[in-house]
């Protein structure tokens, strides 16, 4: 038959016809679309800085607030995903870009996340005048910064480690660069990307809560969400409301885990070449629905078609102009490029210093460095204390495989739970017992991050080969000798990973943990976190920059001088393979 109207005849392959699973899948998808639309409308609402957004402590409003928080998290996650793919691809493909992008990423990683909020919020508000969207964007950006960097690193690592033979196979079978990216490089990156996504989100809840209630230049802005609900509860000294918030947060995290990450992780196993990875895992129910429902075959077919269209378009464009000849490396050009980079970096340094020096005296700069040292001391001591507590417990759990299996999701959940929800309880205790805030505020910094130590110690202990344990038993290696010669070296690499994560998180948390409020009581501990929080509230640009700059220097110095060395030592000497 002839196609008279020039319309394509739609072939409707049998695998795209709806089935019963679609009865479950369709509502899920429609619900998701409606949710995003609702969130979008709410975010676009009119707003003037200074206007008070009404927050109600009615627990009945909490589900709505929770949804807004979840949407913010989702938006940040999508943004992080797009960013990580684009940034990592650029860094992995272009030598010149790599020279800038990777060091920049390394620095960005050590900028405290709440510091980004301080710097960017005014800019975002200016971008969308008269709308709430500006503040929303600032909050989403802050969450984005808590997720994007390590996701990007993971993609970059994956892109650099695509097996050579697979690349050669892709070339031999004439895959275009666009297609190679989607058919080879992205799939190769997916397992570690998904894993990093999950870790990022679990760290992100802390910052969602912290970034919803923002104080800018003396104005406090409350975005509807769980974080703002808590801030309001703190202002009104309502412990009951905080209890409700904790409960709802619990449910939200569980749902995120069930609806997003369980299916994602199970799905990502498909992309691993290792057959052992898939053994004895239960397939999550949601993934089963998604795989069986025809609706998603349709979506998939659509995505593939769009992808193919882009590919053919690119191919057509590439044919038009054809610079197929491989350009030779030009050392002179490289050197000029390096020189320009150095000059730019030097100019930036001069500019920042002059900006700060314009309004801040030398004495204050020195003082800020001292404050940094106070916070550094807190972080180190806390890591030490947490290690003393959690290493023995972790080893104890790790040696009991069944217990370890059960403990793992619980510890993961504890790590994800935003510890700032418990800050009010700590303040109440400090006030009640008249404790010294300089000392007793400190544990708040590690409240949420100590779990990384426990988690990694358990994981490290379970990987100790049974034969090594038996050998130690056989030679009657016991007590102190056993700790010194057997278990501590065995868990060291895992422990270092946990301690690095915990320390990084603690630096970040110092901004909210060194200055804590309950009603109109404010408790402050001396440290650089409190300094940044105060200057942010006052909207003092130069001092914010100074505080964050110094904090970054400390974090970078610690990473380079302490953690990276321990890490290398662990990687070289104490590997169990």
């Amino acid at each position: 038959m002839q196609q008279r109207w020039g319309l394509p005849v739609i072939a409707w392959p049998s695998r795209l016809r709806p089935n019963y699973w679609d009865l479950v899948a369709l509502p899920l998808v429609l619900g998701l679309i409606a949710l995003v639309a609702w969130g979008g409308i709410a975010m676009g609402a009119h707003y003037q800085v200074g206007e008070a957004l009404a927050m109600s402590l009615d627990p009945g409003r909490l589900p709505e607030y929770a949804l807004r928080t979840v949407l913010r998290m989702g938006a940040a996650l999508v943004a992080s995903l797009v960013f990580s793919l684009a940034y990592a691809a650029l860094a992995a493909k272009s030598r010149q870009a790599e020279k800038i992008l990777i060091p920049v990423l390394d620095i960005l990683q050590s900028v405290p996340i709440l510091g980004f909020l301080s710097i960017t919020v005014t800019g975002f508000i200016a971008l969308f005048p008269g709308r709430l969207l500006g503040v929303e964007c600032a909050a989403i950006f802050a969450i984005f910064t808590s997720q994007a960097w390590n996701m990007t690193f993971s993609v970059y690592q994956s892109l650099r480690t695509v097996p050579l033979e697979l690349i050669e196979a892709a070339r031999m079978y004439h895959l275009s660069p666009w297609r190679r990216f989607w058919r080879l490089e992205v799939p190769h990156a997916i397992p570690s990307l998904v894993w990093n996504m999950m870790m990022s989100v679990s760290g992100g809840w802390f910052f969602v809560v912290a970034s919803e209630a923002i104080t800018v230049s003396g104005q406090s802005i409350l975005l509807p969400g769980i974080g703002s609900y808590i801030a309001t509860a703190i202002a009104q000294r309502s412990l009951a409301a905080i209890g409700w918030a904790v409960l709802v947060m619990l449910v939200v995290i569980l749902l995120y885990d069930q609806l997003l990450f369980r299916p994602l992780i199970a799905w990502s196993r498909k992309f691993q070449g290792d057959p052992a990875a898939e053994a004895d895992t239960v397939r999550p129910w949601l993934l089963i629905v998604l795989e069986r429902a025809r609706l998603f075959d349709l979506v998939q077919a659509g995505v593939l078609a769009v992808n193919r269209m882009i590919d053919t378009t690119i191919a057509a464009l590439a044919r038009r102009r054809r610079p197929a000849v491989e350009r030779r490396r030009q050392p002179l050009f490289d050197r000029a490029f390096d020189a320009v980079l150095l000059a730019l970096a030097a100019a930036a340094c001069v500019w920042i210093i002059s900006f700060i020096r314009h309004s801040v005296g030398l004495a204050e700069i020195g003082w800020v460095f001292l404050l940094g040292m106070a916070t550094a001391a807190r972080v180190l001591i806390l890591i030490g204390v947490a290690s003393l507590i959690w290493v023995p417990i972790g080893v104890w759990i790790g040696l009991r495989p069944r217990l370890a299996d059960r403990a793992e999701p619980i510890v993961q959940f504890l790590a994800a739970f935003p510890a700032n929800l418990f800050f009010p309880a700590a303040v109440v205790l400090i006030l009640r017992f008249r404790l010294d805030p300089e000392i007793w505020l400190s544990p708040l910094m590690i409240l949420g991050t100590q779990w990384y130590i426990l988690f990694n110690v358990i994981a490290g202990t379970t990987t100790l080969p049974a034969e090594l344990r038996l050998a130690a038993q056989n030679f009657a290696v016991r007590r102190l000798l056993w700790w010194r010669r057997v278990i501590l070296p065995a868990i060291f690499p895992a422990y270092v990973t946990g301690a690095v994560t915990a320390a990084g998180g603690s630096w970040n948390a110092s901004i909210v943990a060194e200055i804590v409020q309950w009603g109109n009581t404010t408790l402050t501990a001396t440290g650089i976190g409190a300094y940044i929080a105060r200057t942010t509230a006052e909207g003092d640009g130069a001092r914010i920059a100074l505080g964050i700059g110094v904090l970054c220097l400390y974090v970078l110095a610690f990473n380079r001088l302490l953690w990276r060395r321990l890490y290398n030592l662990a990687a070289e000497r104490l590997r169990l393979d």
């Binding site: 697979l166 031999m172 799939p187 070449g273 070289e572 000497r573």
Partner: protein, 430 residues
């Protein structure tokens, strides 16, 4: 005029080293693949045989010279040439069908046609029923079948095989090889020519119409041996054994040395690519050679067969024995020298002594390290110092491997010791 299927002329490949010195890997290779021909390439590690195959494929651009496919210059992968990889190179997230379809998809073959051709190729190679399986569900042999199906589905003129059977166990490899040859003999595949890199001499003699022997550092074509035996070829037949012996002889004697007994081997330099052999294997082989049925002298193909040693394991050992003067090789036979026999008879301490003397005498790198350590006041030197010297002669990874080998030998011989934490060589504990 008759245009050859594939032809290279004066192909050279140099790699630029970190210190801007160029290292020659392939040296003026002239090669022609005719219609209906299977050519096998054999050579030791460092002979650049895999690099040459990639130059033929258009994956690696030659530094000099040309590659022509049916008279057309090859500068990137072209249609009509397909490749099968040593470790299969299957996409783990695609099913068997998806993997086979991939090549067609990139060529723009439409959906139904693509499916049909892929299923045909899968049937042809004996994988029917596994279309929806993922590679990780399959055994090595099955995976390589997918590799072949993916190559054959694009109806290639030329198949390039990069040690396609070397990751498989002996039986599996034999079955797959046999199936491929059957398809080829019966002309059930459109392929007109095959080039196969191999590390298995018998495999090459069984399959090929012509065997190219590459010499190492830089890679050159040293010999071109026609194999005019009727198929199927039985490995026990006299003609077969004769060619195997000939190949062994060529591979175990260096060009320029005639391999006559008693001929003094040329001295080697500091940057010599020391063979990858451990002391354990080395003394194990000497013990084996001493005992029955060899009594100090063995036919190499027979030895490889009996002791289940593949070329990549056997040749480094043999070269080590030759370098240290424990044995010499001629005409495909290996024979222990007086020194070798003395080593076999000695106890552990005396063996160490003999080994140390031989290493210091015949391995300039070991002697050089010892001399440097002796001269230095603290008798210590970082390993990186010697690594840099080696990198003047070898690629980065090879330099590291050679250094590891010499450290292993030196430690065993107690010529020097090594602290792996600080990566420092020293004369402690002596």
């Amino acid at each position: 005029m008759n245009v050859p299927l594939l032809r290279t002329e004066g192909v050279c490949k140099t790699y630029r080293m970190p210190d801007h010195l160029a290292r020659l890997v392939l040296d003026r290779l002239d090669f022609t693949l005719g219609d209906g021909e299977i050519v096998a390439i054999l050579g030791k590690s460092g002979s650049g045989k895999s690099t040459f195959l990639r130059v033929l494929a258009g994956l690696v651009p030659p530094s000099d010279g040309v590659v022509e496919y049916r008279g057309q210059k090859v500068s990137e992968p072209v249609q009509g040439i397909a490749m099968v990889f040593q470790s299969y190179a299957l996409f783990p997230w695609l099913t068997v069908l998806g993997n086979v379809e991939l090549g067609l998809e990139a060529l723009g073959v439409a959906g139904t046609e693509r499916r049909r051709r892929a299923v045909d190729a899968i049937d042809l190679i004996g994988l029917d029923g596994f279309e929806s399986a993922y590679p990780k569900e399959l055994s090595g042999g099955m995976r390589q079948r997918v590799g072949f199906a993916r190559a054959l589905v694009v109806n290639p003129d030329i198949l390039l095989l990069d040690e396609p059977f070397s990751s498989l166990d002996v039986l599996t490899a034999e079955t797959l090889r046999g199936d491929l040859l059957d398809l080829w003999e019966a002309s059930r595949i459109p392929t007109k020519g095959i080039v196969m890199v191999s590390h298995n001499i018998e495999e090459a003699v069984e399959v090929a119409d012509r065997i190219l022997i590459f010499s190492s550092d830089p890679g050159r074509i040293r010999a071109d041996i026609p194999v005019a035996l009727p198929r199927p070829r039985a490995s026990g037949a006299a003609g077969f054994r004769q060619i195997v012996d000939q190949v062994y002889t060529l591979l175990t004697t260096e060009p320029g040395r005639d391999g006559r007994r008693g001929a003094r081997p040329e001295p080697i330099g500091i940057g010599y690519r020391l063979p990858d052999a451990s002391v354990q294997q080395f003394s194990g082989l000497i013990d084996t050679l001493t005992e029955a049925p060899y009594h100090g002298r063995a036919d190499l193909p027979l030895l490889a067969d009996e002791e289940k040693l593949v070329m990549d394991e056997l040749f480094p050992l043999i070269e080590t024995l030759q370098l240290l003067g424990f044995a010499h090789v001629s005409g495909g036979d290996i024979e222990l020298t007086a020194l070798g026999r003395a080593y076999a008879d000695a106890d552990m301490l005396a063996r160490k002594q003999l080994f140390a003397e031989a290493v210091l005498k015949h391995i300039p790198l070991a002697a050089h390290i010892r001399r440097v350590l002796d001269e230095r006041p603290g008798h210590r030197a970082p390993a990186a110092r010697f690594l840099r010297e080696l990198e003047d002669h070898l690629s980065e990874s090879e330099a590291q491997r050679v250094l590891d080998t010499v450290i292993n030998w030196g430690r065993h011989a107690e010529i020097f010791s090594y602290d792996s934490d600080t990566e420092v060589l020293n004369l402690e504990n002596f």
